[in-house]
Symmetry: C2
Subunit: 374 residues, 2 copies
């Protein structure tokens, strides 16, 4: 019995989007779901209580690469695991560090065995292999572990993407063999293959044969045009098994979340809501609001009239603008709460509209109001 399982509840008759539940050792997660990112064992500026009560998050993502380098996965193991270390008793998904390591460019060397790289903190040398990554993720104790993969950039040559994808598949097998805590943690495979459909098909086929409890789609939303992303995503998910959750990595703008769900995705994550909060920007039902701008100086309204979050219940745009202009932490906090809640609320609405077989209509209305062009 896998630690993490997926239950399909309904398929939207209008769009084919999936409504389900992921069962984990740290609670159930209604899907489709947006997962806030807690890179360094904290979702930036937020307490766990705020994530539960205001954002209404049931799962967060944390970064293996960052935690391995600081404070170290052995220290977190000694603390009793990541949940206990950071005081979060709901589900956690950890990535594999692959995305970060491969982003290092000249600072890393890839071999069949794994990747050698230098720490961004102190320049020290490190080596990550599928086995090492499993050891780290087992030490962290996340509910969902991601296999060690290479995320290739866009555009990349066919031959390179092919070799890389095949290696990612071999690494997935090594990850599966090395994973030591199957009772409490589940390992997801990651589909690669860039924008080449035959490579995506092969990647899916080989991974599905290994029978993972869930699959991520990696290597998308890395610079390719939106239509191409949508096309490759649709192609990829159609071959994934219906009874396993599907996770599109690194996607977090409202339109991409909707498009992903329309193409059969159940889980998404992105640093966007907390990152733009630190720049003084809010996501609202009428589009982005750069609250720093002079136009909001005497705006006594809420960030978003339709929002139910702590920020919108208690503060004006004028006050938040003052905090942002004054570099006050409370400004970042209020915008982070709101932006995260905006995306979890969007997903709540999406779940409802799937149940109502009405997701396409919802999408059209949302796009119009938000100011997106379709």
């Amino acid at each position: 019995m896998e630690a993490v399982t997926y239950e399909l509840k309904h398929i939207c008759k209008q769009t084919g989007a999936r409504r389900g539940v992921i069962h984990t050792p740290h609670g159930d997660i209604e899907t489709p779901v947006f997962m806030p990112v807690g890179t360094q064992a904290t979702v930036k500026s937020m307490t766990p209580e705020e994530l539960k009560e205001e954002v209404k998050a049931h799962i967060i993502l944390s970064n293996t690469y960052h935690l391995y380098l600081r404070p170290g996965s052995k220290l977190i193991k000694e603390a009793g695991g990541l949940h206990k270390f950071m005081n979060w008793d709901r589900a956690i998904l950890t990535d594999s560090g692959g995305f970060q390591v491969f982003s290092l460019g000249d600072l890393r060397t890839i071999t069949e065995e794994g990747v050698e790289f230098k720490s961004y903190l102190d320049g020290s040398k490190h080596f990550l292999s599928p086995e090492k990554v499993m050891e780290i993720e087992n030490d962290l104790g996340s509910d969902i572990m991601m296999a060690f993969d290479e995320c290739v950039k866009y555009p990349s040559e066919y031959e390179y993407v092919k070799q890389s994808m095949e290696r990612t598949t071999r690494w997935a097998a090594r990850c599966k063999a090395a994973h030591k805590n199957t009772e409490k943690q589940s390992l997801f495979g990651i589909v690669q293959g860039g924008t080449y459909k035959d490579l995506r098909e092969k990647s899916v086929k080989d991974l599905v044969e290994m029978n993972f409890p869930g699959y991520a789609v990696g290597g998308l939303s890395v610079g390719e045009p939106k239509e191409l992303m949508c096309d490759v995503l649709r192609f990829t998910t159609q071959n994934l098994p219906e009874d396993k959750p599907r996770y599109l990595m690194g996607v977090g703008t409202p339109d991409y979340l909707i498009e992903a769900v329309l193409r059969g995705i159940d889980m998404c994550d992105c640093v966007l809501p907390t990152r733009i909060a630190r720049n003084g920007t809010a996501l609202t039902s009428h589009g982005k609001v750069v609250v720093r701008n002079a136009t909001y100086e005497k705006d006594w309204g809420k960030l978003d009239e339709e929002c139910d979050c702590y920020t919108c219940k208690n503060y004006t745009r004028a006050y938040i603008r003052h905090l942002v202009k004054s570099n006050e932490i409370l400004g970042i906090r209020l915008l982070s709460i709101h932006n995260l809640r905006f995306l979890t609320k969007l997903m709540e609405n999406i779940r409802k509209e799937i149940e109502n077989d009405n997701l396409l209509n919802f999408k059209n209305e949302f796009y119009k109001k938000y100011g997106y062009k379709d």
Copy 2:
């Protein structure tokens, strides 16, 4: 009838320290009290709810000078006053901007009429007079307004301190005449005179004749030795009326709070707890803890075993150290909550010990445990 009144409840038989209540239009304040500082209409990193529920603050201080420059006191007036602007419905004390303006050194010019200075934000020229400061504080709508004063540095020549103190007294009279909202706001006078007892005596005498509803002691804890501070403070408070609250400005280390209360002080404020939080330092019953230090890397204990705050209920020193080392906002938040609570809790204990006529014994035990030398 004054907006703000003081009720003396008990005098410690062991020390003469005062236990009382300050009544304000925004609730009662048990004294002696420590007031967290919210310089820019926010106590750094904190929400009002955290100040109420975790710190248990009933009054905060905010800075006229900063708010006048940004976002502007007219904007705050338009928002419905400072309480509404920042979503804080308990009491607020505003300083007069005097301390900040006089700190500007070469950037300001003092005349009998007032002070001309340049903005630290954009270099623009401004003029603050007693009348202008009253207009600003009336616009802010604080419960307790401070008169416009000059805080002279230590050491200063007798003649300069004398002239300055006399001008501060004349300004106090002008403030009193200019204060426009006596029904909802009370104006406190500020005793000056540096470390010269005859000047302190004169300052007290002249201000008391004007019959303010409360008095601050300014110009202490500005670099003079602790014994001298204590001596001048004792001398100053003995001549202040018993039925009015007494506020020692800018004092916030645990020992200074205790020494101030021992000398008849009812109110204190300081940026120290939130400032050292941003440097990764905690106040604890066993002294300061620089949680950033390597010694706490695997310390699974609380910041302070005796503390009842959110931070101490939920997080280890090791986790807080990780947050601080990683420059995570949550680290600042957790330390700010704890440090503020440490001081408000110290004042709660002090109030109890005054009631028990036991404050001197309490001081001796506290000093020993904290590691202070008496």
